[in-house]
Amino acid sequence: MRLVLIFALVLAAGPAMAQPVVTANEPPSPQEPVAEEPPDLPAPLPKAAPPDKASGIAVADEQSDNERLRTVGRGLLFLPKLVFWAAVQPIRGTVYVYERYDLRNRFVDATFTDDRKFGVYPVAGYESAYGFTVGARVLYKDIFDEGERIALRANYGGEFRYALGIGGNTGKRFGRVRIDADSSIERRTREKFYGIGNDHKEIATPLEMPIDPTVTDVALQSRFSQDVMRNVVGVKVRFTDELTTRLSGAWMTREFGGSDKDDITVRYDTSKLIGFDDGLNNIYVDNEVAYDSRRPSTQYATQTIDGTGWLVRAHGGIGRGLKDDPTSYIRYGGEVQRYFDLYRGTRTLALRVLADAVAGTDGRTDGKISFVDLPRLGGSEFLRGYTSGRFRDRVVVLATAEYTWPLMHNASAFTFFDVGEPLYSFDELTKDTDRIRFGYGIGIQVHTRNTFLMRTQIAMSREGNFSFNLVFSPAFGRRDRVGRF
């Protein structure tokens, strides 16, 4: 009881027992900025000490319990840290060697001339649907100092068994007119075919009898090979920065055959597929007019991804067979893209509708168009969620909504919804909602300010199939259409 009393007294008397040195003064002036007169300063003393003995500490502070707990945690993480460190050594080692021995410049020095205009260099790539590709390029650029270029290329593996090509363009030599030409021979051994039409039940195992793809749209997974010789010439005229037209023509010969895996000749009655047995030898002439005002909407975002503007494009072309090839069709279509800048150029919504169609043929039995020339849907760009070439028919339509937002300095994410339908004719469009195919997904794209590096995306189809793509171009790319297939 006495203890409590004393304690209470001490508490009560504390302030009274103290001798406060209270200095009553006016509050400091609120004027900004700070007063010119500095506070009094201590004069530095000349005393010196070894660098680690300057603290003057005679007895150090005790370690807290909190710190002991941290020591336990550190012990637990010792092994994971070791494993992580070991795991990153190959990357560190590679980067070290790359930089220490200046491999990039050595490589460029070894493969290019001193003026960097002419060079030979290897290339390698990967596409999830086809695997790895290796190859080489011979490049002669800026030939007459106006951006003219010519390139030879050779590829092996992946999509190709082999591919050889030569191409070039006139750069800025003719001002607003650019002429380009490209010739190539390719052997593709893993081309995919899922029949013609819109069957959604993808079957992986062959049926008892090969199917006639011209009378049923059963989607049986199959592969075929084709040997392609392609020669393309194009003239592009730029009327304004936005308005262009490109007249182009392609002469192609193609020979078809089976494949080691999922052989088309076992699964489909290839005698009914136009051109499969006899090959193709045809030309295709196309004119495209495009108004393209797509552009980044701010200089403070990567310049490789558009953030605002329109693309309005229409094309029309004629395919004709040479010699015995009965090819005879008209191709037409168009595309509208609209980019909306939702927030400061970094959150964008892109909408796209496109249609591609052929006319003058039934697309199946009249022999006027080969199955490889029919418009297609599927892959990493057109109706994502479905494999490349999953659908083909006389008409394809596609609508896309894609929202992009930033992740960090050189990366952004996107989510998309693609809806499309392969059709026999436009009359069938949306008559049966069961025939509508859609895919959706999410992806990440990596870029620098001026270079698009890669895009990886996971997509899921309406039927629940997953696809994963690693692509080295933006989703709504600007590739020339002619010769794309």
Binding site: P28, P39, Y96, M408
Partner: protein, 541 residues
Amino acid sequence: MRHILVAVALALVTGCASSSPVGTIRFQPEAPVWRVEDKVPLAATPKKRDFYRLFTKVDFVFARRGTRAMELRKAKRVEDINSIDEVPDSTWFTNRIGMRDLTLDELKRGPNVSPSPFDHRPWTITGMKVGGMSLGFTFEDALKRKFLLKFDMAPFPEAETAAHIIVHRLVWAAGYNVPEDYLGYIRREDLKLGDKARKKGVDEAKLDAALKLVYHRDDGSIRAMASLFISGAPLGPYAREGVRGDDPNDKIPHERRRSVRGQYPLFAWVDHVDMKEDNTFDSFKDGYVTHYLIDFGKALGVMSMTDHDKAAGNRFAFEFGEAFSNLFTLGLRARSWEGRTLTGMRGIGMFDTEHYRPDGYHSMNPYWPLRDKDRFDAFWGAKIVMRFKPHEIAAIVDEGQLTDPVSRQYMIDTLLKRQRMTGRYWFDRVAPLDLFAVDQAGDKARLCFTDLSLSYMLTEAPTMYAINTYDHGGNATSFATSLRNGEKGRTCADVPLAAGAHDYTIVRLRVQRENRELPPVIVHVARDQGGHLNVVGLRRR
């Protein structure tokens, strides 16, 4: 019995000695050290430290970043401070502004003691480097001294050179070693191509082509910044952590140096986002290593302008946590720096006060010492920032030679506002009491101190100081005393001296204002060998 009860009561009031509110730390009864001996001659020149930019980037982007995270590193206090929480002079840092008289001329001149190369033309170009948005030459002036030459790129007149010179002078005055850097104007005919440059493949055509990229005045003259090569043997940059193994003078890990960690408020103030290992430099001369900071041209918002990166200075280039968060929030969360804009003023980068957060500064990539800084380091750095007076800042800004008076005034105003924001923020994270002095006052000690928040007029709030005293053993020797702030923030209190060797007395000061109490500062007072009372130690909590 009564004595025991009183002792118990005192202990209850003031805390037990074993977990004393003043801790267990004790200091030697000596005056603080203001200079360290880190110029002990070395037997041999240290090896040049190779620096690989990409390799280092891999480390700070994820490899070392990952292992550092798993080390659960203790927030260790710095080791290069003296007993009163200040940094003594060394090869890293020299107490300058506010610690000794610096004339306005000195502030304007900075470290430049040699004749200006602009007075010794023509210049002989010895090398050239063209980058994406930068261009650099090396040259020898008429006195055969070697310089690095930089320009403003044509789209951004005056910005980079002005930023460099302004920050260069501020950083020097703050106490750091920097090269001698000069700003001026040259003409094309002042540049001669030397044999060294020709051997490297530079010819007149390439020189002319490169110069077309840079800013010219209407009269054809070119604005240029010349940086004198640092004398001595170049040893490369100093490491962001650890010590230089072959330099016995380099005893303290760099990430535990107040002189490095405490740069945070200074760099935040001037938006020096390009702080990285390769913008540091070690030089070996006169038998010892001196440590420099170099290249400030991307500060003052210039990086955001020239590199079109609004986030510069506000987050790391590779911020995986933020990326992960952004991924799942679908970008719906707006980030504060996204609203940054250019002022449109000539020579002014994306530098403002609206988007400035004194604790939000990030160099482009993680720089461990700045990551490891604590509020004590930041307080120390903020004190230096606050020591620049308005007319001194104006004089330094004038060294940047911004030709538009509106730009000049904007730069001064913005620096002043950001200075006060910096001080206000960090002075509110510790008890901002400083400049302690003690004198004998009868049988007591008169302890005086300055409340920096009040002396710099960062707050007008009435302030109370609660004072407790303890002996060397950590036992309370008095009851709490409470007093009001004095004039201009300077307050004195008479405190009883504790019995015992050297009259070692520990004073615990708490600052109470605006209905809150700041963490205490603990001041150790003792008599030295001559019997004079000194503040022998100081610990902030």
